[in-house]
C-alpha cells in the first residue's frame, strides 16, 4: 500500500498533529451546525412563519427558470431525498405557496411551481435569513475568514465521492 502515501513516511508526531487539526476543524463544524441551525430555523419561523426546510425549497424555485422544477431536480439542488421533497412540497402546496402541475411531455414526472404568494413570502423571508446569517455566523468573522471557510469547504464538496473499499455491506446511503 505504498501508492496513497507520501514519498517519504510522515513522522508519528506530524501524523498526530495533522489528525488533531482535522478533528478540531470537524468538531467545530459540527458544533456550529448544531448551535446555529435550530437558532436560524426558530428565527425564520418567528419572523416569517416559514421553517427552514420550506425556505430552502422556495429559494430554489424562486431562482429556477419558470419558477418551477421537476421534483427530482428540486431534490438534487436542495440535497434532499425523493421522499422528503415529496413530503415538503405537499406541505407547501397545502399552504398555497407551491402548486403541483403535471408534465405534459412525461407523465411520470411532475413540476413544483412557485405561486405568487409563495414568491411574496420568500421575498419577505430572504432578508431576515440573510440578516440572521450575518448576526449569528458571519458577524464574528473577517472577510478573510469567510473566504477561507468557503474555499476550504468547497474543496471538500467538489471532491469525487469517496467509496469505501471492503467486502461487507453496501454503502448506497445516498441512493
Amino acid at each position: 500500500m505504498s501508492s496513497t502515501e507520501p514519498p517519504v513516511a510522515r513522522t508519528d508526531a506530524a501524523d498526530a498533529e495533522r489528525r488533531g487539526l482535522a478533528v478540531a476543524a470537524w468538531a467545530a463544524l459540527l458544533q456550529v451546525h448544531a448551535a446555529l441551525v435550530p437558532s436560524l430555523d426558530q428565527l425564520l419561523i418567528r419572523r416569517t412563519g416559514l421553517p427552514l426546510r420550506w425556505y430552502d425549497v422556495l429559494l430554489e424555485l424562486a431562482a429556477a427558470p419558470e419558477r418551477r422544477l421537476l421534483m427530482g431536480e428540486l431534490g438534487q439542488r436542495v440535497v434532499l431525498s425523493r421522499t422528503r421533497v415529496s413530503r415538503i412540497v405537499d406541505e407547501l402546496a397545502d399552504a398555497g405557496l407551491v402548486r403541483k402541475e403535471s408534465n405534459p411531455w412525461d407523465g411520470r414526472s411532475s413540476y413544483a411551481t412557485l405561486t405568487n404568494e409563495g414568491l411574496v413570502r420568500y421575498r419577505a423571508a430572504a432578508p431576515v435569513y440573510l440578516a440572521g446569517i450575518e448576526r449569528e455566523f458571519a458577524g464574528s468573522l473577517t472577510d478573510a475568514d469567510l473566504s477561507a471557510v468557503a474555499s476550504a469547504l468547497s474543496k471538500v464538496l467538489n471532491r469525487p465521492l469517496q467509496i469505501e473499499g471492503g467486502p461487507e455491506g453496501s454503502n448506497d446511503h445516498n441512493a
Copy 2:
C-alpha cells in the same frame, strides 16, 4: 485589526460582496454537513456497530475525570437537549456501554458512567472515525485550510450568544 467595525460606513457594493461571502461560507458548511454526517454515521455503524450519536456520548464520557458525568453536563458538552441525552443514555445503558448511578450529594441529578465494555467499544471505534474524517473531510484540505476552518469556526462558537432584540415571542430555543 483595531476594531471589528469599519470606521466609515461601508458602501452598498461592499455590503453586497460581504453578504455574498457570508452566504457562500454558510451554504458550504450546510452542504458539507448534509453530505458527510450521514456518510460517517453509516461508516461507524457498519464497522463498529455504534451510531454517531452513541459515539459522541462515549467520547465525552471517556474523556471525563472519573469516566462519568452528570446528565446535564453531558448534554452541554455534546450539545444535546436534556430530553435527548436522557433517551440516548437509556439506549447505551440497555446496550451495557453506560451505567446510570445516582448522585449521593444531590438526589435530583444522576451520573452516566462509562462501563468497561463501553470504553473498549469506544477505543475500537475511535480510529475508524478518525480515518473517516481524514478520508472524507480532511483529505481534500491542506494543514493551512484546516487551521483556518478550525480557527474561524471557533470564533463563531466563542461568541456570546446573540439574543435577538424585539418585542415578539420568546427565543429560548435552547432552554
